[in-house]
Symmetry: D2
Subunit: 463 residues, 4 copies
């Protein structure tokens, strides 16, 4: 570890900029976001008095955005202690991080907020250092709850345990990729400094995967991307989407949202899929299903959404049209083979502006890659909007509450949020949009054998 930062130094926080202007800007945007996050605000209001998360020490690993700031402050209002890192090197909004560290009522001279370790443009080494800090409570204790969006916090813990069981941390040189090498370095340093650190406390724990909640998987993943994909492409490139040929790689939830996003701007859309069911859904939604190699030299825009590796290879990028736009909204940066691209003989990278690069092949052809193949909606825009994140984050808060208040009901392992809470999350978001729910009559409740107050559907229902 050569971040120049101490691994166990009780660093109170590390963010990009704690100037009064940045803090104030962050606070103004947080206040606007609160208005758009009715789920979190309703939970705050409901638990204003009872502080049900008292005693909880939560390690958070989740994009440090304005919306996450509202989440963090909700957890604080419910009584939790919190330490936070981002789960992506580019996704931090620095004014959000600053305002959280300042805290409500605090300012640059009187920081009252929790410990945040995040800034836009971390190196990989810095990134994992930040993640480690989120585990390290001042008194040497670890967290008793983890709120982990991308799985990196959990990965760190599990890698550590794995190493310990193996008796040694693998040498960084032997790691499969750069990221694992960084993790190995960090674990080696940690082991040396504090043996067993990463498994102390409550690190082997039950968890609730809110990705399986309907109000997460069918909302954030679909409607969030519908908003943020065009937002990211427009901010990054200012290119008109109408009439362009766009390839959406993958037609899962994210792919469906991506296609809706581009369709709203009247792209001509084609889809690639591996799964015949999703492929048939794409057809039924009016999109042609192709293989990438069939259209790679005609298409104008390529968006990966698969969660899989190398779905756009360098062999594809070589064939793309001049100024083809290539971006990813499928989480990991290996959907697009950026390593392969960088290794292409004679290739040259010209930065156009932050998060937009032209990659110029030896023959002069060039393509535009957004956010270096990482999440373009976060890198080129501001990610998903507050309203849909309120739905995802209300799931997170209810999950933390469940685990904290009723841990005895949850065995070790990964759980799904109970359906009545999933429905509750949805319910908290209806008023804001002026909706009025219908109420089952006793006759109707009886007829379909469903309680008047729900849950309304079997667990297998697909929505």
């Amino acid at each position: 570890m050569n971040t120049g930062l101490p691994l166990f130094g009780n660093v109170p926080h590390r963010v990009a900029d704690l100037s009064p202007e940045t803090i104030a800007f962050g606070r103004r945007e947080i206040e606007l976001a609160e208005h758009e996050m009715p789920g979190l605000m309703a939970i705050r209001e409901r638990h204003a008095a009872d502080r049900p998360l008292a005693g909880a020490r939560i390690t958070g690993s989740l994009h440090m955005t304005i919306q996450t700031a509202v989440l963090i402050e909700t957890l604080l209002d419910l009584g939790a202690e919190v330490r936070w890192a981002s789960c992506n090197i580019y996704s931090t909004q620095d004014h959000a991080a600053a305002a959280v560290v300042a805290g409500r009522g605090g300012d640059a001279k009187d920081l009252r907020g929790p410990a945040v370790f995040a800034w836009k443009g971390e190196t990989l080494t810095e990134y994992w250092w930040c993640t480690a800090q989120a585990f390290d409570w001042p008194d040497g204790r670890g967290p008793n709850l983890i709120l982990d969006d991308g799985g990196d916090a959990t990965l760190l813990v599990h890698k550590g345990v794995e190493c310990e069981r193996a008796g040694a941390v693998p040498a960084p040189e032997s790691a499969e990729n750069e990221e694992l090498a960084v993790i190995c370095s960090l674990l080696a340093a940690a082991t040396e400094e504090r043996p067993g650190w990463y498994r102390e406390g409550s690190l082997l724990f039950p968890a609730i995967n809110v990705n399986d909640s309907v109000t997460k998987s069918k909302f954030d993943n679909v409607y969030g991307i519908r908003h943020s994909l065009v937002d990211g492409i427009m901010r990054g490139t200012d290119v008109m989407l109408s009439g362009k040929l766009a390839v959406v790689l993958g037609y899962g939830e994210v792919g469906k949202g991506a296609a809706q996003s581009l369709a709203g701007q009247k792209c001509r859309i084609v889809v690639t899929e591996v799964d015949p069911i999703c492929a048939l859904q794409a057809l039924m939604d009016g999109y042609q299903v192709v293989r990438l190699e069939d259209v790679v030299d005609e298409a104008d825009i390529f968006v990966t959404t698969t969660g899989n590796v190398r779905v756009i290879g360098v062999e594809h990028m070589r064939r793309m049209k001049r100024n083809a736009i290539v971006g990813n909204v499928g989480h990991f940066d290996n959907e697009i083979d950026m390593a392969g691209l960088a290794a292409e003989p004679g290739i040259r990278r010209q930065n156009i502006k932050p998060q937009v690069d032209a990659w110029i092949f030896a023959d002069g052809r060039q393509i535009l890659v957004l956010s270096e193949g990482r999440l373009l909606n976060l890198g080129n825009a501001t990610g998903h909007p507050s309203f849909v994140m309120s739905s995802s984050f209300a799931n997170q808060v209810l999950a933390q509450l469940e685990l904290h208040q009723r841990r005895e009901d949850y065995a070790l392992g990964v759980h799904v949020l109970p359906k009545h809470l999933d429905e509750e999350v949805a319910r908290l978001h209806l008023d804001k949009l002026g909706a009025r729910l219908t109420r089952l009559t006793p006759e109707q409740s009886d007829y379909i054998d469903v309680p008047v107050d729900g849950p309304y559907k079997p667990d297998t229902y697909r929505y």
Copy 2:
């Protein structure tokens, strides 16, 4: 029972019209439908030689349409014996029934097809008589498989067993509604004539509910309705939908398809929902969520899709605008309170044309009710189109094959079709639409830990 038809009379078939013209018309339409049902045709081709359903005696209860004719003849090609009734009094296409009874290669003078009992416009008594016939093989044997779309065939069996256990068939007068009274009458007659009839053979059996297949629930229910709702309203009323205010009651799969159908014609759409998750989906799709009573006096069109009872009551219909159109695509005819409407003091019904009635209240106001509150897409149009039914029916055929070939793997009870077969159904429909699936590379298969040939998703995946 006073159908004038013998209950156990070995009636070979009963359809509306076996004229050469009707048979030929049915055959021409069946041949066109075959072209649109690639799933069924692929199964026929695959099993042309091995006849894997040999020995199966299948009782079918499913709308006797052109598409069902292709299903029946697929079952026959696979070696099954078949007896068939419709599952709706209005849904039979008489030329389809005729062509099936005539059989391929047969004609009006040389009937070679299976036993079908179905015609458009059956009375309730006739309907249940038909259902009973589908159980009654000439040699007194019952079926060893049931293909039951709406559950009526199963209901008949279970009601029979229930009565037997209770020691008596309830008096028709004591039944909760007209339909149960008819069933009681039939069971009483059957009991008298052949005690224990309804539980002979293999009537208590394992079943596969294809409604839980993705390629049924997310296809037929959504995309089928998207086609057939506007088709039914247009054929029934010729009314322009653009600019009209339409209320879609329920936003489950059928409701989603209904909204898409009307949106394609630029209706202004509002949705009623009980379930907050579905309500939030409606909002995210751009539709206002209201209570029926808020809009009942402004809306032009009302479509029920809930599967629940009395979602439009007579108290609502009294308040509707002149010539408001009221219809149901949610299966049972009690979504709209037709009994309540008919009981309204001073009300008068004027038939406009088949399946379209003006109901004229005592004060002169009138509303238009389609298909007497039954499935308007079947009553006013021809139901779902062949392509989407090919998906549903390929599920049915694969389910029958599973149950017949591997019955030992299926305990008594209701099962779901295994996901690899669900994916197989989708795969059979891709070529027809010119789609090319992408194939996982070994690296990708390994990365996401999914076999190259699938199944690609966990059972909980929602699509």
Copy 3:
């Protein structure tokens, strides 16, 4: 002329069926249509007392549908005398014709309506005979106004005058096509029987081409087709449109409506165009612009909308896929080269059902042609819906009123309806859809220099 019908025989009317049932069915549908035609009803109401068309003798040549029945009865209410023929051999709805002939308050035994000459399925000879009848008032007078939708009535008059000037009617054998041969025959017979017949009365006249009204060209042509194209294809073929590849030939008003219609059902749509501006509009709407020959062997559906000749030639039809659907909504039946198709060596036509034919090439390949290449929305369905026809027909009525009341303001030639009347037509249709117009403030009226009551736009405005 060998229709067996006298040319100048004072035939009072000729329709298919004047049975009480047909008349009553027509009347019921007319009453429903009235409710959907607020423009015509408002004009009736406004002029209930003053009968401003008293003295007008109107020859109508326009599809004899239910909507036209409401138009005719509006003209009658305004005081006109009317004689009517359809402008298409297939477009008559026989119950509409019957109800008009019976007249309001009349019945099969007491016919009180005007002279209508139209039935579904006329021969060409019968068609032109009908058109001639619409000119022939009992007392030998001709019309003083013509309401001519397709231009056939005008064609007949002008051909007659042309012949007279040429000194002779051309021999039918010398005519360019079958239709002109029929017209020549009729004119020859008319000339023999009543020299100069076709130019008596007010036959050379000013006319208002309502096709140039915005509330016609941008409404009926776009929104009418949006409704009636899918309606026609669904009734004709029951084929699922979702996922199919559809070629829309032409992207004028009708083509735009056709694309919207198919897009609403999630077809994959490609467009052919000659005009680069319309082509770029198609691209901006998200559709690929292709040449027919590029996609003719992949597409499932072909719809002509151009108003031009032979846009689908037999050389294209030879290459189409089995059961490709070919239809026309662009007015004339020569958009699809039906004559060329019929002349193809070894071709065979199999009628599937009325207005649906399979054409089977010598090699066994077959395609489906709707309505013999004529307007499929009228042949396979019931044409445009009442509401949009109310807009078109309100234009027709206001045009007749203008010409009748202020003929001195209209020189010989073709005129456009004044914009304030065009706006008036729109205004008459807003209440029905619950719309509330905003009213310019005096400040705003002044700022944009537009009268508070309109007209609001310059004549060049494109909407």
Copy 4:
């Protein structure tokens, strides 16, 4: 005039930042934009040799964006001399201005480009000073062509002539509004320094209003807004649009584009209109037509598109919901009564970030106003994308060419670009999107009496 800048000082240019980084950033974005502006690039290529604008001195008044940079350099390539000002105080992209001033091949130390007077955030006084500079050639000559987007350059000239005719410039204090007061001041100063300045040269001239070209009015105005409205709202507020209630004020070309933009993100949209024809179009597109006062307290987003004054008054803004978003894309900043808002007793303005203000009423309620009521798509985003601007600007270039080469054909007054050039503009943009035009056959050309090479439509055609 107290800009501190001399009115006739032969200032060579005035932009915000001529640092090497800014110039280079501008140049990179210009090169990307060129790829998206096939119309301008095709014109450059066609006239690479003949320089048909040699001798032209063009005063440009048009948003100084990246796209305009490509326009300016196209004019230069065609041989023109150019002086340029923006037509909006906020719309300048400073890196675009810098790169133009540097010129192709030039850099910060070797400025080779034309005279540009524009920066983001001009005061009104600075704005009109910039406009005046664009008229003032070094040798005292004026322009012989004006390329005037918003009409401000023309306004300045005409106001000047008006004053001269009146014998005096009105006192600034007597002007109707702040803007006119600034103009009066400037004219007074100019008159003093150089009497008659504003009418020297060719200032009274024929002009071609490219706003009347189809490829401008139906492209830029519709499709440009479709892109840039959501872009501006998202960049400005990050608010999720899905499910929100949005009021689009006006349903002309801009309003139609605005509705499409919001509909693509699944807003619930209602429309206000004065013109019954546009209102009926909104209904046919599926939008409810309301008066602002009916929805002002429920809606979340308000977008003005009318080109009229005070369509949102302070009396409306008082009633809006907390954090309602108010913005304008209809050109002038008086659509929203910003003056009235600022004059509201007790109101307070809090700047959230550039071009986003919260206006907080005395009672604590607040609304968000974008870009101070000026064009939000330019203020909060980067305006219309290159591709659609290529269409608008190709019109501008062809218009300049027409006027320069064939001035004798154009009388004093405002003209429309000939249709064959309008079609040419469209044609230049098809290849980029992979389109293939169909070519009329001689038979077809003859049948519809249209030349094979166009023009294809009458001047009255509405597209």
